[in-house]
Amino acid sequence: MSATDVCRAPALSPEGATVERHWHDLAARRRLYTIGGLVFLFLALSGSLWFANETNAGKFFDRLPYVADFFAELKPRDWIDPVRALFDLPSPYDDGSLKFDYPEGRVYLTQGIYIPEYFHRMVETLNIALFSTLVGATFGFLLCFFAAGNITASRWLRFFTRRFLEIVRAFPEIVIAGFFLAIFSLGPIPAIIAVSIHTVGALGKMFFEVVENADMKPEEGLRAVGANWVERVWFGIVPQVLPNFMSYFLLRFEINVRASTILGAVGAGGIGESLRLSIGRSHEAKTIAIVFLLFCTIVAVDQFSAWLRHRLVGRQAFAYGRGE
């Protein structure tokens, strides 16, 4: 407050006083906006919380003591049991029920060597993610050049490509998966199609933004020596955007691992389905095994992708928004 006192000194000229008054007005208005915004946010938040609580099956304060119960229920018979569940080893508690039938799901490669069920499921989920990222990236790659303003001159072509990418991106994955589940029956193919279609939109958008920020000098050079459109794109643009494309591909792969897990939980196979079933049936050792496996896989995928992106594009991998 001492600063204000200094400013109020009589030495202030009339012009200075005007500036001073305006500054105070501005500050007051700003404060008003901030307080108004906070009050609005608070009201919206409490209204939303009340609404959510009203429409929930269990009420928050009624259920709160039991949330911990669920975690307590997750405690397995002994702490080796999740390991047995993870590697499909027979359990000493096996009573013929689904709960302890760990060796059931073994996938035998030869007579003696098997892949544990959950590892196989995890590989399935990873394959769904990687394959659909590959398919999505291929189509995204082909489409992005038609959406980029510096490569495609036709406004209409650009407009339609961009709208197409937008619609494909915003269309809920779950609807595509559900639609193809109806046609193909249960299995991973609907998830692959759904994730691929979404990836086309998402990667297409990132790709064309990269292309629009590309350096046009190589392209100009090629144009000067009479290269056609495909040659200009392939030799002028693609080499400089490829590292960024790869980096976005890897990022997308990370997201798609999560997306395919979620789609798995609604019936499209993979580890998500196993997780939903084991949580729903309160199979504690199996749940712990799957959560652990999923956690490790996601961490590993994230770390690997971050490392590779760092190698591909250097610091840019961690500072998006550059090249704007």
């Binding site: 938040l45 919380l49 394959n127 109806a182 990370e254 939903r276 949580i279 500072a319």
Partner: protein, 514 residues
């Protein structure tokens, strides 16, 4: 340019002209790997056999269902006449008599065995399922067939249908008790019906009619306009109409089937239909409780989805905010505190949103609380990580300046750090709010509340694709609106910070761009 000059250039830039084998063949190798991987995946997922087994006809019909609906007259053969029924909850109301089904009536005499089964009163739709109105429920069970009164044979004279003609665009199905004529364009096929035993075409069948065995049911296709089955005891026709049937009022509503002007005048100045409330209130109630579209419930679930994303993101931002200061190296000097907080963020982020959603659905029961908590937990991790990264990238000069005039540590954070990072924080939170609106739809399907579950249920019935499309359009609209709100605010926020030379990256990490 002479050869010497070329050689000279080649000698000066060996890396451009004599590239390593790997560099030269990287593209073909990459493409080859991708192709090999594609083969591996098609083996792994047995793509070929799945595609072969797929029911592609169904795909066309389901897609058509998104924007159209079918009406199904059932023409049953009796001894010397026909009866025409419509499915019990036909979109044409309780007493359909469409003009595309022409009937020829005559008075006949026949023996009847029993009184007709009592009609089942239709009740108001149930709120949370796609069950048709009046479907058998606990309160209103369907009347079992065996309960009709004992049969007393008697002779009645009545006006009965002798012949019926169903028109489907350029196609026609003319039905008499023992002869069915199917016409599509210029082609006609006659079927002799031996009631209860066989269906026999008089001429070889064209490719739009399929009969799997001689004498069995014939399947007639009229393309998008509809299809029909000629069976040995009835003819079933499906005529397809473009559009969404009964979108505003269902067939139980007094406003059903009335043109817009009439509905408007009823609402504005008509006499009360229901004496206890105004026509406007009645119309609104009828719209909300539309049995086929369930607008009220769909909107409620959509609001839940929006609320889940909003509350989850706001709470996550509030919790992540102080923790981020703890996690930032340059703000909290303790290595231990940094590492613990950061690993905590990683943990929250890496336990997938799905796992959190399944956990909390068990804990709180199905509903938005579960979805909200799942979003809150995941995003506390993600936002915390992003916030702490933004904090670690700040400009130190401002902090030093504030510190040099003797400010307390809290004041240093408030005036030296916060002004730099607040726009970034807000912009990232806004971005996540928008992206969570999308993810909230998906986790809803595992029971975490919102429109996801409703969407999923509608899809699993395989008969409500128009409802699915309706919900998809609503979701797209919401995503579009929030997209624009969020990017408007983000532009405003970043616009003011855009002048800083050393500005912290404001764009959300692409990792989260969904």
């Amino acid at each position: 340019m002479n050869p010497d000059a070329v050689n000279d250039i080649a000698a000066r830039h060996p890396d451009a002209f004599r590239r390593s084998l790997w560099k030269r063949y990287a593209t073909p190798i990459g493409i080859l790997l991708c192709i090999l991987y594609t083969f591996y995946c098609s083996w792994f997922f047995s793509v070929a056999s799945v595609l072969e087994k797929a029911n592609w006809n169904l795909a066309g019909a389901y897609l058509a269902d998104w924007v159209s609906y079918e009406i199904r007259p059932d023409i049953e053969f009796k001894d010397n006449h026909l009866t025409i029924d419509y499915s019990r909850f036909s979109k044409l109301g309780s007493n359909p008599n469409p003009d595309w089904v022409a009937k020829q009536m005559a008075v006949i005499e026949r023996q009847v065995e029993a009184a007709p089964a009592p009609a089942i009163a239709t009740n108001k739709s149930s709120q949370d399922s796609f069950m048709a109105p009046g479907a058998p429920t606990a309160e209103n069970p369907a009347v079992p067939l065996g309960q009709s009164p004992p049969a007393v044979p008697e002779t009645v004279r009545e006006n009965a249908v002798m012949a019926a003609t169903v028109t489907l665009g350029n196609g026609q199905i003319a039905v008499t008790p023992n002869l069915v004529t199917v016409t599509r364009g210029a082609e006609s096929v006659f079927f002799d019906i031996a009631k209860g035993s066989s269906v026999t075409p008089r001429t070889p069948l064209p490719d739009w009619i399929e009969q799997r065995r001689p004498g069995s049911t014939a399947y007639v296709s009229f393309g998008f306009l509809g299809r029909a089955e000629v069976q040995n005891d009835e003819v079933v026709a499906w005529r397809r109409f473009f559009g969404w049937a009964n979108f505003v009022f269902d067939t139980n509503s007094p406003f059903w089937g009335k043109p817009f002007s009439e509905v408007a005048s009823l609402i504005v100045s008509g006499a009360r239909i229901d004496p206890s409330r105004s026509n406007a209130a009645l119309a609104w109630d009828n719209i909300l409780n539309n049995a086929e579209w369930q607008h009220g419930d769909v909107w409620l679930k959509l609001l839940q989805t929006i609320v889940m994303a909003f509350v989850g993101t706001v709470l996550a931002s509030i919790v992540a905010f102080p923790l981020a200061f703890l996690a930032a190296r340059n703000v909290t000097p303790s290595r231990l505190a940094n590492q613990v907080t950061k690993r905590f963020f990683d943990f929250l982020r890496s336990v997938d949103m799905l796992i959190w959603a399944l956990f909390f659905t068990r804990g709180f029961g199905p509903g938005p609380l579960a979805g909200m908590s799942a979003i809150f937990f995941t995003d506390t991790g993600t936002l915390g990580k992003l916030y702490s990264e933004a904090l670690e990238n700040i400009d130190d000069k401002q902090r030093e300046g504030i510190r040099s005039v003797g400010a307390t540590p809290a004041m240093v954070q408030r005036y030296g750090v916060l002004p730099q990072v607040l726009p970034v924080f807000l912009s990232q939170s806004l971005y996540f709010w928008e992206s969570n609106t999308r993810s909230a739809t998906i986790i809803g399907a595992v029971g975490a509340g919102g429109i996801g579950l409703k969407l999923w249920e509608a899809m699993r019935t395989n008969t409500n694709w128009a409802n699915v499309f309706y919900m998809v359009l609503l979701i797209l609209l919401v995503v579009f609106v929030f997209d624009n709100i969020s990017s408007y605010f983000r532009r405003k926020l970043m616009g003011s910070a855009g002048n800083d030379e050393r500005r912290v990256s404001a764009r959300p990490p692409a990792a989260q761009i969904a």
